[in-house]
Subunit: 171 residues, 2 copies
């Protein structure tokens, strides 16, 4: 089935990580792939834990030109599409039970990956693969394709009071 976590509230990536944690407890083979996150520059503590539990953690298109002006948007788009193709090959060659594509909805929203290519990915995926897509701004076409859609609304967030992201909590 297809799971979609979208909306502006805290909890999209976090819920995907939680779902991996649960699935790994059940013995599922899990792959967690992030898009547009600079995993070389920043340490995402959840990745270490997921690896410790046996998940494969990969990162594509490291960073977002909107946050890091030194990045070339064309290069990021190219890397994101290479990532999508890599995962396409991976799920057809290996038995993966749960694949997370973290922040892929941002990659689509910001035109690094065409929506049509992600829809094609979904249509061609093995039927028993659980696929989790996260990120703000899910398109209607992707919502239509999904079985689970949770929209996380931000009712309150300390960022609104100027609090910076904290280790162990936001990353």
């Amino acid at each position: 089935m297809i799971h979609l976590y979208t909306g502006k509230g805290k909890g999209k990536t976090t819920a995907a990580v939680g779902l991996c944690t649960r699935a790994l407890g059940h013995g599922f083979k899990v792959c967690f792939a992030s898009f547009n996150k600079d995993t070389d520059k920043y340490k995402y503590n959840e990745h270490d834990s997921l690896r410790k539990l046996g998940a494969e953690v990969i990162s594509f298109a490291k960073g977002h030109p909107g946050l890091d002006k030194s990045l070339d948007p064309n290069k990021i788009a190219e890397d994101a599409n290479i990532g999508l193709q890599f995962l396409r090959d991976k799920i057809s060659n290996e038995k993966i039970d749960l694949l997370v594509m973290d922040e892929i909805l941002i990659a689509v929203r910001d035109n690094f990956i065409p929506e049509s290519k992600l829809i094609e990915f979904i249509e061609d995926k093995p039927t028993d693969l659980e696929l989790v897509l996260t990120g703000r701004g899910a398109t209607d076409g992707l919502i239509e394709k999904a079985d689970y859609v949770s929209c996380i609304e931000c009712v309150k967030h300390p960022f609104q009071k100027g609090q910076l992201a904290r280790k162990g909590i936001e990353f």
Copy 2:
């Protein structure tokens, strides 16, 4: 800070589990306490994974009389309050960095624990303890106390088409 995951969508407990997974990756001391879940009868696969990563996982007031008619609501209420007191003692005697009280908002909504007692717990907790509360139907008083409030709306869920809960995904 106080984190609150509420709303009718999938992802409340899941996000709390994800937050623990991240915090454990950062070396935080984590305690995950569930309320009104029958952990003797059902296997929650996320608990095994969290234990493997070093979290303490505890369960109070096992089950919900609304789901299991054989349970005595008074006994469940008593157990929930014993749990609350147990955690109160625990966080004052041990250095815990992150405490999850999973489904505690249901325990308050269904009058097993008075809202005033949970607010008192929040007011008395060590200031540097990150406290995560999950469950539907958060009260205004608790929302007022929280720093993070994410409301997870259910846009789509396969339960609506009659799909039952699945191993590794819902539990």
